[in-house]
């Protein structure tokens, strides 16, 4: 089940250190979000990190074959988890997103992204396609993605659901579906968008309307976006400096420790800091991607590429929300937003990436 313990030494240390730097930035940011205090967020986020660390290294030395073999089992476990969430879940802020396991409030939907990607990677690997893939052979992964999307969307957690669906589609696209299908489906979605609008919950419609024009409700639902833009804009080129962000320290910024954590960062460190952060995440994304070019096994390629993309993708979606170019749908900023499930799932993803980056394809792998 596990590789030799000393295989840990073959880690891609650059990737690991960039990861640590990002987590450290997140810690600093949570510290400043609390007005210069480890309490309540920075300290508990650090404790979680330390608790998750053995698991992190455990996954790094896991045999890739083990992951390959149990892909379907993971998927079923997650599926049951999502059903359980809906049935017995813990409700907060109008949504049922969490279940309690061993003292943790676990957001199963976060882990469903990983299970889905692993499952689909295995599916396309086994497909062993010569060239591009037809629609028929993509139906099963598409269906699984859609089921997960629906299960999460009715919690309701539209943000996570959209990410799940998008990641599913990215896997299918990456695995080589004929280009005609994505183009066709985008056209259909565009044409059906008025119908989809009516399917949204009123609060979701509201969020989109207010995204388009925050001034509709400056003290109500537009407040988030307006205050977030004020925080970021007032940061300027160089930022107000560490702990000098008045928007965040004075509570003008709602949900500052979770979805709007980037605004706190940007208020303190300005345009320069923000661009550096984007570059840092971009490098974190690219390191595994370069590795994929050297790989020939489809399972390895999909796992590395899509998992790495997942972190970068969520990062981009989150900042787009915060700067007001996408509606606020509730997507966490990886390693920076406060929250256990997000941290754990992203650590698992990074552990998997580190695991698959040190892979030696000369061995006979998935027999």
């Amino acid at each position: 089940m596990f590789k030799e313990f000393k295989s840990l030494l073959n880690l891609n240390w650059i990737y690991f250190f960039i990861l640590l730097i990002i987590f450290w930035i997140g810690e600093i940011n949570l510290y400043s979000a609390a007005g210069g205090s480890f309490d309540p967020w920075a300290s508990s986020q650090l404790i979680r990190f330390l608790i998750f660390l053995p698991l992190f290294f455990g996954i790094i030395i896991l045999e890739p074959k083990f992951i390959f073999n149990f892909a379907e089992i993971f998927l079923i476990i997650i599926f049951i988890g999502l059903i359980t969430t809906l049935a017995f879940g813990y409700t907060g802020m109008g949504a049922t997103r969490w279940i309690r396991i061993a003292g943790f409030n676990l957001q199963v939907s976060e882990f469903s992204k990983i299970a889905l990607i692993i499952f689909m990677a295995k599916y396309f690997h086994k497909l062993n396609a010569e060239k591009t893939i037809g629609l028929f052979k993509s139906i099963l992964p598409l269906m699984v993605s859609c089921i997960f999307f629906v299960l999460v969307a009715i919690q309701p957690d539209l943000g996570t659901a959209i990410i799940i669906l998008a990641l599913g589609l990215v896997v299918i696209f990456y695995a080589g579906i004929k280009l005609i299908y994505p183009i066709l489906s985008l056209t259909i979605i565009f044409l059906l968008s008025p119908l989809l609008w009516n399917l949204l919950k009123p609060y979701q419609q509201n969020r989109i309307q207010i995204f388009l024009n925050p001034d509709l409700d400056p003290l109500g639902k537009g407040y988030h976006i307006i205050q977030s833009k004020i925080a970021i804009g007032s940061g300027g080129l160089k930022g107000n400096g560490f702990l000098e962000g008045s928007q965040s320290s004075l509570d003008f910024l709602p949900e500052k420790e979770t979805d709007f954590v980037f605004a706190i960062f940007s208020e303190q460190f300005g345009f320069t800091g923000s661009i550096l952060l984007i570059l840092l995440f971009f490098v974190l994304f690219l390191i595994p991607v370069f590795k994929t070019f050297k790989l020939t096994q489809l399972f390895n390629k999909i796992i590395l590429f899509v998992l790495s993309f997942k972190i970068f993708f969520e990062f981009l979606i989150n900042i787009s929300m915060t700067v007001g170019i996408l509606p606020v749908v509730g997507v966490a900023l990886p390693f920076m937003s406060y929250g256990g499930s997000s941290l754990l799932s992203n650590l698992i993803i990074c552990a998997l990436i580190l695991n698959f980056m040190s892979i030696n394809e000369n061995k006979r792998m998935f027999s």
Binding site: K131, A175, G233, L250, F252, M365
Partner: protein
């Protein structure tokens, strides 16, 4: 295992697809970067301003209003402490129930709807003043303090007026009416006109607030600056003395003016009011004053306009001298009336004065002398000279209800009555009756003009104002003739006010002129009217008693102008009051 090894083609496809996905990621990053650049670099100033507006709250601290003093630094208006019930919403969610309980405990007669409305959008952390607290209410509240979490007693300042005799001059304060006004402001008389001088500058407490308006810390404080003090020309003792001399049951006024620099030393009006009731918000008393038919709020020395009566006579006399129509030798025979056309114009002395020259005409106030003179005079010339000598003018000394009265001329009559001027009206005007309307202040300036030889100081209430002269010098010979005649009114036997010299020989020697101004010209038909017969109307139509005097008569320093409405003859009522006041001013060297 071999079958799981994918073909070269398939790998190429995957790698190509990865470039597409990376490109999308790069594109999105680029869009975000552009957006960040727009927010943080291009629109930085806009968001920075918004951010500062968000966090900074400016709380004003009221400045202390400037005091008002008399010429000898006696306090006439100051500030004193007062206590208010103030509610802070953040201290208790149930603040409104506490206000109701407070009203139950201490009868405050609160308007709950109004308070609820005002409080609805009021800042949680800024106190809202519910009502002023009286001493016994404070005691009662303190005993029950534990029941009220959101209500506190807070000290603030109110205006304090120690002497009610100054209310006509100082005025009073009112509530702010404009949104940019934060504190009570002067709304009447000097409090109003000197508002900017007195009000001072509010202090500012800049604090950082959080999204709920709670103060996190005070960042800087600008101290409030006390308003400037105002020093008046009035004299506390003279003002109080003059007021005490006014008959309490009559409407009347006194003004004492300095001949030297135009300082108003005393300005009284009866009935008076107490400005303090406006400060103490005693609404019942305020309403009483507003409704009172005697108009206690009117400053009669400044905005009471009456026919001047005989005190006007120096003007036609001077005009006659200047035009060589008369000289000191010119004599007129007064047989009790003078005729013009088919109408007779009567002298106040039915039997006539006999042979009268200018001096006697003024001394004994012979009307016929002036009728005869007026027959040769153009009314427009009288109007012009009156204006030169201080009548028909607005004196902006800082009081409300500015007015200039009326000195008629042909143009005015054409414009307002659409009639031509009759020479008979010139006769009436020349003895101070007819359309003439002058205020006691204007009469004082008329005599100041005569005593100063034409160039006289503008009256003032503000001691710090420099003395300014207006008018043109006239022939000093003419001035001597006039003053000699005016002195004889009091100093020589048969003068209309000679009685003053006999009753109080120890008083300062004064000169002056009596006047008895007819309130209304009653037509023959009206005399038969039932209304006129009633006593009340008779009182209302009684002549005004007017006297303008100056002291000492040989080297004038003070002018006193006294009008007692419906008081009767000038010599009997107004003159003795003026004499006492002039004597007081002179003896106390006001």
């Amino acid at each position: 295992m071999e079958k799981n090894k994918i073909s070269e083609d398939s790998i190429k496809i995957l790698n190509r697809r990865s470039f597409i996905i990376i490109s999308i990621g790069v594109l999105l990053s680029f869009i975000i970067s552009v957006r960040l650049f727009s927010l943080q670099v291009i629109n930085f100033n806009f968001y920075k301003k918004k951010s500062v507006e968000n966090k900074v709250s400016i709380k004003l601290t009221p400045p202390i209003r400037g005091n008002i003093y008399d010429s000898k630094n006696n306090l006439l208006a100051g500030s004193s402490s007062l206590y208010e019930f103030v509610v802070f919403k953040y201290l208790n969610k149930d603040y409104f129930r506490e206000i109701k309980n407070l009203d139950l405990l201490i009868k405050l007669d609160l308007n709950f709807d109004k308070i609820k409305n005002r409080l609805k959008n009021y800042n949680d952390y800024i106190g809202f003043s519910v009502k002023r607290a009286k001493w016994e209410q404070i005691v009662k509240f303190e005993k029950n303090k534990f029941k009220f979490n959101s209500i506190k007693i807070i000290e603030s300042k109110k205006r304090y007026y120690p002497y009610k005799n100054f209310s006509h001059v100082i005025g009073y304060m009112g509530q702010p009416t404009q949104s940019y006004e934060h504190y009570p402001k002067g709304v009447f008389h000097l409090e109003k006109s000197y508002e900017n001088h007195l009000k001072g500058t509010p202090g500012k407490v800049f604090s950082e607030v959080n999204a709920k308006g709670k103060i996190i810390r005070e960042t800087s404080i600008e101290k409030s600056i006390k308003g400037n003090d105002l020093y008046l020309t009035l004299d506390l003792n003279l003002q109080n003395y003059s007021q005490s001399l006014l008959p309490p049951d009559k409407k009347g006024s006194v003004i004492v003016l300095s001949v030297i620099d135009g300082s108003i030393l005393s300005m009284n009006s009866n009935p008076t009011f107490d400005a303090q009731i406006f400060e103490d918000r005693e609404n019942n008393k305020i309403n009483e004053f507003l409704k009172d038919e005697k108009k206690p709020l009117l400053n009669r020395a400044f905005s009471g306009f009456y026919p001047p009566g005989s005190v006007f006579k120096p003007i036609p006399a001077l005009l006659g001298l200047q035009r060589n129509l008369i000289n000191t030798q010119t004599e007129v025979f007064c047989k009790g009336h003078s005729s013009l056309g088919d109408r007779n114009y009567y002298c106040w002395k039915k039997d006539g004065h006999g042979k009268v020259n200018l001096k006697r005409a003024i001394k004994e106030s012979c009307d016929v002398f002036f009728y005869e003179l007026a027959k040769k005079i153009n009314i427009d010339d009288i109007a012009i000279l009156s204006t030169k000598l201080g009548l028909n003018k607005e004196y902006d000394i800082g009081l409300s209800n500015l007015g200039k009265g009326l000195i008629p001329d042909k143009k005015w009559k054409k414009a307002f009555l659409e009639q031509s001027w009759y020479q008979g009206e010139t006769l009436i005007t020349s003895i101070g009756q007819g359309y003439n309307l002058t205020s006691p202040l204007q009469l004082a300036t008329l005599y100041s003009a005569i005593l100063n030889g034409g160039k006289y100081p503008i009256p003032k209430l503000d001691k710090k104002l420099p003395t300014k002269f207006i008018g043109k010098k006239f022939n000093s010979e003419h001035q001597k003739i006039l003053i000699n005649a005016l002195n004889s009114v009091v100093q020589e036997p048969r003068g209309t006010a000679y009685k003053l010299s006999i009753t109080n020989p120890e008083f300062v020697k004064i000169g002056g002129k009596t006047g008895t101004s007819q309130v209304i010209r009653i037509k023959e038909s009206e005399r038969e009217d039932d209304l006129y017969k009633s006593k009340e109307v008779e009182e209302r139509f009684k002549d005004h008693s007017v006297f303008v005097g100056y002291a000492p008569y040989d080297k004038p320093k003070y002018i006193a102008s006294v009008v007692i409405e419906n008081g009767g003859s000038g010599s009997a009522v107004a003159a003795p009051i003026a004499h006492k006041i002039l004597n007081f001013a002179y003896k106390n060297n006001v």
